[in-house]
Amino acid sequence: MDRSEATVSTLGDMPKSRRRWPLAAVALGLVLAGCAKNAPQDTFDPAGPNARDINNLAMPVFIIAGVVGVIVLGVVVYCVWRFRDRGQDIPEQSHGNPKLEIALTILPAIILAGISVPTVVTVFKLDKKSDTQCVINVTGQQWWWEYDYTTGNCGKAKISAPIVTSGELVIPANTPVLLRITSRDVIHSYWIPRLNGKRDAVPGRLHTLRMQADQPGLYTGQCTEFCGLSHARMRMAAVALNDADFQSWVDNQLEAYTPPKAGTLAATGEATFTAQCSKCHQVNGLKNADGSPVLSSPDLYVVSGVAPNLTNLMTRTAIAGWTFDILSEQCRLKLWNAKPADFGKLYLQGVWMDTPAGATKPVCFDEATLRSWLRNAPAKKPMYSDPTKLASTGGKYRGMPNLHLTDNQIDELIAYLLERK
């Protein structure tokens, strides 16, 4: 076929004059992508002193780098255009201009020296830990984060016994908190962009990170070190509460276990949970029929040796590595957009937000999400959970396998888990 008759199918086949438009559209798209209105992980929208310090350093550096970049690119473009090959003779070749070269060496050196001063100051400022008022162990594993609250004071709150939770890091607002970050399996990286920079979670090492939020609210984050199959679905959030609300949250977490009423669906669910889920998941206070505590043994089944503690599952807003909301979308938006003064009250209600007194089902509960998770977890979130392919891990899973629960069992478990609040 004559080339002129061929269908124009690739950018390379287009005439030069038409080729620039798709490229321009892509460039425009990239630029506009930075203008998202709802960007909860915007590092340029700091919500705490640490992130603000980083932003105060990054913005001037970004502007300086941008100005330098524009000048350099402009000169390059000018030279390319002005001195393009038009068949002219090769100009006289010279060694160069020593004065200009010295100036072009000294000028960047001065700029870099100027930038280094605030950089070093900021680095030391961010590393400060002596004023922290709360210690929380943060441990990453494929593909979720666990938080262990140490006993003692946490801001103005008093923690009388360790608290273990996952997905959501609940902290007192306006209080510097010390996170001690590590990992149980591979390298992860903890990052709540609006509150501070990243910190790698490395097995066998303990890295510290100072975290502080100006006011109550929910600040989302993302694991930023590729950590395997579901790295993209290893999310997290920091939830800041005012002092009174934080104390309420602590008290609720340490409240004694309340078993379901006998004869209810939840009571059947408790038995199902004990038989199926408690192999890996711990619910503090759950007891066997003989009165002995039900103790999970995730170290026998999971590579990381742990699975999320579900004692107060319904106080969280999302499950499975903070990937899937268990709050309905309407309630989630209400919570996320709540004013700081109202945020704590809404958050502490969890899925029971807006539920009339006496109702047995929470209004804000996204049951479909939890149901589909229980039905086949690996179908919702990719995990190494094919029992026929576990030879390399000695039969241990990375993530939650499909437990092949029946619809009745799922009903029972949901009824039981709804009471874990």
Partner: protein
């Protein structure tokens, strides 16, 4: 390089050699001996003919060839003798033997064959590069010396290490020290002499090195045949020792050569200090001046603490890690890990990991000092 005739006889030599080896390996009895002798004889004859053809350049000079001494192949200067065909033959034979005997023979033979082929190839190329043998030799060196010298050096180093290690493993611990000092002094002395006598002939220095190397390798081989000395295993820091129930001899040996200074102080969950007035307290890294008497530790996570002893008595830090019911329903022994005994001002790391929550254990999780009742830091494992 090889002439047409010598290539033919070389191939025949290789085939008959391999045939002899295969026959010898696969056929027993008188037939085996006779066949092997016959094929070996054939191989020798072919080898002889290869050499003759090679040296006479096939004798292929026609009577009417002008200036035959300069223009014919037979008139060309003979290239240097090459050992690589022979080595390649040995390698090929080794491959055959290796396939029916031991894998290691096969692997070594493959390496030998490949090395010989590379050398042979480069030598063949370089000998055809020009009519100047010196230039051709230079090309060969330029191509192969970057490979040959490091490999040769590695072989020499391996031989020295092997010989020395066998000697040290064979000698007793006390004799080992003397041998080490003596050999070190000898090497130093030899090096000094060679450096001081700048006029020393290259051959002399080489001879000293070769004699020393051969002596070391020989003694090493003899030592290897003689076998290692009996090495008594050191006692381990068992839970019994950590809980103060080990024998005095065990504990004494364990603590004898303790390294008490720790360089790496990062990644520490807490500094645990036994103060001069016998108080055991923990300081969390990052929160200075706050004494902790309980530490919250995550499940299935390695936790590292740094123990510092400020008392005048040697002490160890023990982590009590629980007592659990076994699968058969019986109660297991208490688990514990500990540091060696630390002298005043000394520091040591203690790393531990707890897989079960506190409620699973019938004994508490805690950091403690054996023999000092009540000095504990509780470990809380949610």
């Amino acid at each position: 390089m090889f002439t047409t005739g010598s290539k033919l006889f070389l191939g025949a030599t290789a085939v008959s050699t391999i045939g002899a080896i295969v026959w010898a390996a696969s056929t027993g009895g008188a037939a085996g001996v006779m066949g092997t002798v016959g094929l070996t004889s054939v191989a020798l004859v072919f080898a002889l003919l290869t050499g003759l053809n090679f040296l006479t350049r096939d004798g292929n000079v026609a009577g009417n060839t002008p200036d035959p001494d300069r223009t014919t192949a037979a008139g060309q200067p003979a290239v240097g003798n090459s050992m690589w065909p022979l080595v390649a033959g040995v390698g090929a034979a080794g491959i055959v033997i290796g396939t029916v005997s031991r894998p290691v023979v096969f692997k070594v033979a493959v390496v030998v064959l490949l090395a010989a082929l590379v050398e042979w190839l480069v030598q063949g190329f370089s000998e055809r590069a020009s009519g100047d043998p010196a230039y051709n030799d230079g090309i060969r060196k330029r191509l192969l010396h970057p490979l040959e010298f490091p490999i040769l050096g590695a072989f020499i180093a391996a031989a020295v290490i092997y010989g020395f290690s066998r000697v040290m493993l064979s000698a007793s611990k006390d004799a080992g020290k003397i041998i080490f000092i003596f050999l070190g002094a000898l090497v130093l002395f030899a090096g000094f002499v060679i450096a001081a006598r700048r006029g020393m002939a290259k051959g002399t220095a080489l001879g000293i090195g070769v004699i020393g190397g051969v002596a070391l390798l020989s003694v090493g081989v003899v030592s290897a045949i003689d076998g290692q000395r009996t090495i008594t295993p050191h006692p381990e820091l068992t839970a019994a020792v950590c809980l103060g129930k080990g024998s005095a001899e065990q504990e004494a040996e364990l603590d004898k050569n303790t390294s008490e200074k720790v360089a790496a102080k990062s990644s520490v969950a807490a500094n645990v200090v036994l103060t001069s007035n016998n108080r055991l307290v923990a300081f969390i890294n990052g929160i200075p001046n706050v004494e902790y008497h309980e530490l919250t530790v995550g499940r299935s996570t390695e936790t590292r603490v740094l123990f510092r002893n400020e008392t005048g008595v040697d002490q160890r830090l023990t982590a009590r890690l629980g007592t659990f019911t076994q699968k058969d329903g019986t109660k297991g022994n208490e688990e514990a890990v500990c540091t060696v005994r630390i002298r005043k001002g000394g520091e040591a790391f203690l790393t531990f990991k707890v897989a079960k929550p506190q409620a699973a254990s019938s004994t508490p999780y805690q950091l403690m000092i054996p023999g000092l009742d009540g000095r504990v830091v509780q470990l809380l494992v949610p």
